[in-house]
C-alpha cells in the first residue's frame, strides 16, 4: 500500500473520526430511518453513503479485510453505485498488488474512461468534505430569516459542497434532519440563459410533485419542479425553465458533482425521502454557491430594519393612506406585466375594500437573497380585522440604500 492511497484515506478517516457529530448523526439517522421504516414502509436515504464512509474509515484504520467485506456487501446491495465499485476494486487490487492512488484502475481503463474516473474522485472528495465540514451546531443558513408554521420544512443547497440540507421547522426553530450528496449543472451554477447547463442560484419554492409514471427512467424515482425563473430572475432577464429536483437513472446510483442540465439531482432513496417529506408550494428551496451558517439570533438582528419597513407598509395600507402606501413601491415595479401605474387601480380597490380596518399578516415568512442586490421574498395571508381569511400574497422587496421597497406583489392562486 503506497502513501498516496493511504494518505488520502487516512485524511478522510481522521476527518471523519474527529467529526464526531457527523458519525453520531449518521448512526442516529440510520436508527431514525429504521423507526420511520415502520411508518413509511421503506426509508433507506443516506444509507449507501454511510456504508461507503464506513469502508473509508476501516481502510484508514488499516482494517483492509473488514473494509473489503463491507465494500463487497455494499456493491452487492447497490451494484450501480459507481464510487462504491471503484473503492471495492481498489480494495480487491490491494490484495494482489500495492495501490498507488485512489481509483488505481489499469492503464487501459483509465485511458478509456479518464473523465469518468476523475468525476468519481471528485464525488468522493465532495462526500468526504461535506461530512468533515459539518454545519456548526445550532446554526442555520442565513437566508432563512423567518419561516411561518406553514413552512413545515425547508431545503438549502450548498453547491460548493455538492450537498442538500433538509430542515424541519419546529416551534423551537429549524432542525437539520438530513443532508445528501447532490449533483448540479454540467457547467456549474449561476444559470443565466436557457441551455447553459447551469443550476440557478436564489430563493425558490417547490411548485409540484410530478408522477414518476409520467417521467422517463432518466429522472429516477420522481421530480419536484421549482419556480425558476422567479420574479427576480425574470427582472434580470434570465431565461430557461424546467429546473427540478429529481432522481437518478437505473444505471447510476448517483451522478458526478457536475452532471445535469441545471437540475439538482439526488440518489433515488434520498429523493424519495424528500418527496415524502416536503410540501408543494410552501417548502422553500434556497440554492446558493456556499451556505453561510449563522446562529438564529443573529438572523433576527439582521431582519430588524426589514421588519420595520414591512410594518410601516402594513400601517399605510391599514390606514388607507394611498400616497404613503405608493411610496413603498419601486419605480420599476412590475406585477404580471403591469407597471406601477397600470397596477395602481387594483391597489386602490384593495385599500377601499379594507376601509381603514387594520390588516393582519398571517403565516408571515421572509427569506433573504443577497448577491449584487439585497432582496427579500415575502409570503403572508393578508387578513383585514373582522374577516376570517384573505388572499395569500407574495412580495419581492429590494433594499435601495437604507430603504426596503417592493418591486413585485401578487396573489398566490
Amino acid at each position: 500500500m503506497t502513501q498516496g492511497f493511504f494518505a488520502f484515506l487516512l485524511i478522510a478517516a481522521t476527518g471523519l473520526l474527529s467529526a464526531a457529530p457527523a458519525g453520531a448523526e449518521a448512526g442516529k439517522k440510520h436508527q431514525k430511518s429504521e423507526s420511520s421504516a415502520r411508518r413509511n414502509s421503506t426509508s433507506n436515504d443516506g444509507v449507501a453513503e454511510a456504508r461507503l464512509i464506513e469502508v473509508y474509515r476501516l481502510t484508514g484504520q488499516g482494517k483492509m479485510r473488514d473494509a473489503l467485506a463491507k465494500a463487497e456487501s455494499l456493491v452487492r446491495d447497490y451494484p450501480n453505485f459507481q464510487l462504491a465499485q471503484l473503492v471495492y476494486g481498489d480494495l480487491l487490487t490491494s490484495r494482489a498488488r500495492p495501490l498507488h492512488k485512489f481509483g488505481d484502475v489499469p492503464e487501459a481503463l483509465a485511458h478509456k474512461a479518464g473523465a469518468t474516473l476523475a468525476e468519481l474522485r471528485d464525488e468522493s472528495q465532495a462526500r468526504i468534505k461535506a461530512l468533515r465540514e459539518r454545519p456548526p451546531a445550532g446554526t442555520i443558513p442565513s437566508q432563512f430569516l423567518a419561516l411561518s408554521p406553514r413552512n413545515k420544512h425547508a431545503i438549502a443547497v450548498d453547491a460548493s459542497r455538492s450537498r442538500l440540507y433538509l430542515f424541519e421547522n419546529t416551534a423551537q426553530g429549524l432542525n437539520l434532519v438530513a443532508d445528501y450528496y447532490i449533483s448540479v449543472g454540467k457547467s456549474g451554477i449561476e444559470k443565466m440563459v436557457e441551455g447553459d447547463a447551469r443550476t440557478p442560484l436564489g430563493v425558490y419554492f417547490i411548485t409540484s410533485n410530478l408522477d414518476p409514471k409520467s417521467l422517463r427512467d432518466f429522472y429516477g424515482s420522481g421530480a419536484l419542479p421549482i419556480n425558476y425563473p422567479n420574479v427576480l430572475d425574470s427582472k434580470r432577464g434570465k431565461t430557461g425553465r424546467g429546473i427540478w429536483l429529481h432522481g437518478t437513472p437505473p444505471n447510476q446510483f448517483s451522478r458526478a458533482p457536475l452532471a445535469s442540465d441545471g437540475c439538482v439531482v439526488l440518489a433515488n432513496p434520498d429523493l424519495e425521502r424528500i418527496i415524502r417529506t416536503v410540501e408543494v408550494r410552501t417548502t422553500p428551496v434556497v440554492i446558493s454557491h456556499k451556505i453561510d451558517w449563522v446562529p438564529p439570533h443573529s438572523v433576527r438582528a439582521q431582519s430588524k430594519t426589514f421588519e420595520e419597513a414591512l410594518a410601516a407598509w402594513r400601517n399605510a395600507k391599514s390606514n388607507g393612506d394611498f400616497q404613503q402606501l405608493l411610496s413603498f413601491y419601486t419605480a420599476d415595479f412590475n406585477s404580471q406585466g403591469k407597471t406601477l401605474r397600470e397596477w395602481e387601480p387594483a391597489l386602490r380597490n384593495e385599500v377601499e375594500r379594507v376601509r381603514g380596518r387594520p390588516i393582519q399578516l398571517k403565516d408571515l415568512s421572509y427569506l433573504r437573497w443577497t448577491d449584487a442586490a439585497d432582496t427579500m421574498v415575502v409570503t403572508f395571508g393578508e387578513v383585514p380585522d373582522g374577516t376570517r381569511t384573505g388572499p395569500t400574497k407574495r412580495q419581492y422587496w429590494i433594499r435601495e440604500g437604507n430603504q426596503w421597497k417592493i418591486f413585485y406583489e401578487g396573489n398566490l392562486g
Binding site: 483492509m64 459507481q82 490491494s94 490484495r95 484502475v105 481503463l109 478509456k112
Partner: protein
C-alpha cells in the same frame, strides 16, 4: 448366461483388488498408472481405472481427486465441481480440492465463489503458493469487474479470463502441480490484518536457512560445537513433536508450540487448538515419518525442514514442512509451521 459370466469376472476383479489391499505399494502403483494414463491423454482408460478402484475404496481421496480432474478434462464441469466439493467436505484439511474447485468456478465466471474457495485453500495451508497465485489472479479479475462497473464500461469483451492453475495430483512430492518457475508464495500486497502474520507465509523465514547446522556460518557468540549440540536439541524437539502427534498425545503435541505461535488464517489460539484436537483425536491411526530433516540454528532461533509422510486412516499425505523454533528456557518451541515448497 452372459450375465453370469460378467458377474464372475467382477468377483474375480474384486478378489484381485482385495488381495492387493494388503500391499500398500500397490496403491502407489495404481496412482502412478492413473497419473500416467492422464498425462498421455488416455482419459477413458484413466477413468475406468479410477472407477474400478473407487468401487472398492470409495473414500480414497487421491482417486477421487483424479476423478475430478478427469471430469474437468472431459468437459463435465458440474460433475467435477460435485467431486471436488465432496472432497472438501470429507477432507477439509486438504487445500488442493479447494484450489481446483476455484479453477472450475473461475471457468464459469463465478469469481466470488472462486475467491471463497481459494481463501479456504489458503486458510487450510497458508503457504500454498498455487492457491496464492490463483487468488491473486481472481482478485485482479474481480477488481477489473468492479472497475468496469465503476467506469460504466462493458468489460465483458475487454478483459481476458484469468488462466488459473489446476492441480492435477493430490499428493505431489515434486510439486509438479506448481506453476513452472513459481516462486515461493508471493506475500499478499496488503497484510490481511496486523494480527495475522500467518497470512504472509511466503516471506522467507526470518532466520536465514543454512543447509544444515553448518559450521560454515557460525554464530559469532556460539562456537560450532555449541551450535551442533543446539541442532541436536532442535532435532529432538521436532521428533518429540511428531511422536506426540502420532500418539495423539494432545498435551505434548500442543505443548510443543510456543506462546508466539500464530495459528493459520485468522484463528485464535484456542480455536486452532480445538481444531487440531478434533482433527487428531478423531483419527483411528496416525503414522508420521520425517525424512531429510535438516536443522539450522542461529542463536536462540532455529529452522527445521523435512519431508513429512503422514498417514491417517485412509489418508496419506506427503509434504514438505518447515518449522521455525525459538528457544524458551531450556526448550525449543514451534513458533511457525508452514507446509509446501
Amino acid at each position: 448366461m452372459k450375465h453370469g459370466s460378467a458377474h464372475i469376472t467382477h468377483l474375480l476383479r474384486l478378489a484381485i483388488l482385495a488381495g492387493s489391499l494388503s500391499l500398500t505399494a500397490v496403491h502407489a502403483d495404481d496412482y502412478a498408472d492413473v497419473n500416467q494414463l492422464m498425462r498421455t491423454g488416455k482419459l477413458a482408460e484413466a477413468q475406468a481405472k479410477v472407477d474400478q478402484y473407487l468401487a472398492t475404496k470409495p473414500r480414497d481421496p487421491q482417486m477421487r481427486f483424479f476423478k475430478g480432474v478427469i471430469q474437468r478434462e472431459t468437459g463435465k464441469t458440474n460433475d467435477a465441481i460435485g467431486t471436488f466439493t465432496r472432497l472438501t467436505e470429507d477432507y477439509p484439511e486438504l487445500p488442493e480440492p479447494y484450489n481446483n474447485l476455484a479453477v472450475l468456478y473461475a471457468g464459469q465466471g463465478q469469481y466470488d465463489k472462486a475467491r471463497a474457495a481459494l481463501e479456504m485453500a489458503i486458510r487450510t495451508n497458508p503457504s500454498y503458493s498455487t492457491a496464492h497465485e490463483n487468488l491473486g489472479d481472481v482478485y485482479a479479475k474481480l477488481a477489473s469487474q468492479a472497475y468496469n462497473k465503476a467506469l460504466q464500461l462493458d468489460g465483458s469483451s475487454t478483459t481476458a479470463q484469468p488462466k488459473l492453475a489446476l492441480i492435477r495430483e493430490l499428493f505431489d512430492p515434486n510439486a509438479k502441480g506448481q506453476r513452472p518457475g513459481a516462486q515461493p508464495t508471493p506475500a499478499p500486497a496488503a497484510p490481511a490484518a496486523p494480527a495475522a502474520p500467518a497470512a504472509t507465509p511466503g516471506k522467507p523465514p526470518v532466520v536465514a536457512a543454512a543447509p544444515s547446522a553448518a559450521p560454515a556460518s557460525p554464530s559469532p557468540t556460539a562456537p560450532p560445537a555449541a551450535a551442533d549440540s543446539a541442532a541436536k536439541d532442535v532435532e529432538a524437539a521436532v521428533r518429540a513433536w511428531a511422536k506426540a502427534w502420532a500418539a495423539k498425545d494432545m498435551t505434548a503435541y500442543l505443548g510443543a508450540y510456543g506462546k508466539e505461535f500464530t495459528p493459520p488464517g485468522k484463528q485464535s489460539r484456542s480455536s486452532w487448538e480445538n481444531e487440531r484436537r478434533q482433527r487428531i483425536v478423531s483419527k483411528n491411526n496416525i503414522s508420521l515419518r520425517l525424512e531429510n530433516l535438516s536443522v539450522s540454528v542461529n542463536g536462540n532461533k532455529a529452522v527445521a525442514k523435512f519431508r513429512q509422510d503422514y498417514k491417517a486412516d485412509a489418508l496419506s499425505v506427503s509434504s514438505r514442512k518447515t518449522l521455525d523454533l525459538v528457544k524458551s528456557g531450556e526448550r525449543w518451541l514451534i513458533v511457525r509451521e508452514s507446509t509446501g515448497t
